[in-house]
Symmetry: C2
Subunit: 224 residues, 2 copies
């Protein structure tokens, strides 16, 4: 087995080991097995399988205890910590998973803008007659998966007039339509916040932008 030193190694192993492979979900009650193949079940099950498989590969995945916090996991590889999200979707359709809860993301990025670099490991599956198949696998930054929409500066699900979830653009077909850079993406988050002014104790967009910019530079020695 190849020694895992970076997230890119991990992505390579996922491609080598899992891309094109078949999957099967079985439910047994009193030892009577049946195959499950509804879409919801496949998606949820793949999303549970991946973290367990990552642990088999020696990657220590620590799950974020707060459900709205961003990101879902911290992965330990070769002594380094990586922020990670694991997603999957039915490749026959446009990607429909949430990239992040908008308010949670806004809050977490303000506290620690390094989380902007969280990596998404994404699995596209396709249901088959007897189960499903992993059609393709992606490793992406968040800004490489979303874009401005006709209504908003960014892919956004609105629930009862409040911004709810950051949503993906069909990045697998049209990667060039997504944001070109982390900076463009952060500006779009800020513009979205301006459209939906913060309530109560949420930080104002201008202050948010300024702190994210300076703190990111301070912590990473890179420009946002």
């Amino acid at each position: 087995m190849m020694e895992l030193k970076t997230l890119d190694d991990l992505y390579q192993i996922a491609l080598d080991d899992i891309k094109g492979k078949k999957g099967l979900i079985t439910i047994s009650i009193d030892s009577i097995p049946k195959v499950s193949k509804s879409n919801d079940i496949i998606g949820n099950c793949v999303q549970e399988w991946i973290p367990q498989w990552l642990e088999d590969k020696g990657i220590d995945l620590v799950s974020n205890s707060h459900t709205q916090a961003f990101p879902d996991f911290t992965a330990q590889i070769n002594g380094k910590s990586y922020d990670m999200e694991v997603k999957c979707w039915n490749y026959n359709n446009a990607p429909a998973f949430d990239l992040a809860n908008f308010e949670g993301f806004y809050r977490e990025i303000y506290k620690d803008p390094r989380k902007l670099n969280a990596k998404y490991l994404i699995f596209g599956y396709r249901p088959t007659t007897h189960g499903f198949e992993i059609v393709d696998i992606f490793m992406k930054n968040i800004w490489e998966m979303t874009s401005p929409t006709q209504k908003y500066p960014i892919g956004l699900q609105n629930k009862q007039g409040r911004p709810y979830a950051l949503r993906p653009y069909p990045f697998h077909n049209n990667p060039n339509r997504c944001f070109k850079s982390r900076w463009d993406f952060v500006v779009a988050i800020c513009q979205t916040r301006i459209l939906f002014p913060p309530t109560e104790e949420i930080v104002e967009p201008a202050d948010w932008m300024e702190q994210v910019r300076t703190k990111f530079k301070e912590l990473t020695d890179e420009d946002l």
Copy 2:
């Protein structure tokens, strides 16, 4: 094997064969199996397993093609047709499944009030360390599973100001708090419709009530 002649026989077989039994959900990708045990997955999988198990028992289950139509299935037993719904929920919590979509139910009952007699076969499961267990099984009429609430004449989920789904009361703990009769339940449906006046081509509550009453009598030779 006991010969199945009625729905009651079916319920008895379910109790004998499945109550108290252990279940397990496995997802394999490239033949690497993992156990799934999140709540969503168990619920969805049990809901897929049951109809397949019923077919093993020789019951021909015809699924209703329209997703909002009521009920989900028609079961053929010994030459007779029964309207049926199959539900399940995590027995550690209050039952949280939808009894029916309100609008679909209102429409279907108007067309054929015999569907009021649809039987619910309900499975209460409990997650365990290694899977789950079927703790109890119920066979109920719809009026035996809901009751007036503080806000509405019936258990009702409201979505954006419109009635959305009929919801259960914790019937497993307090069966006596549920509606006493089909009639009381139908009256509560009618009162709910009055609270949320029908739009466009939906029939008025008074006309609905009258037709349901007379047509039920006509078709079943029983009082509503």
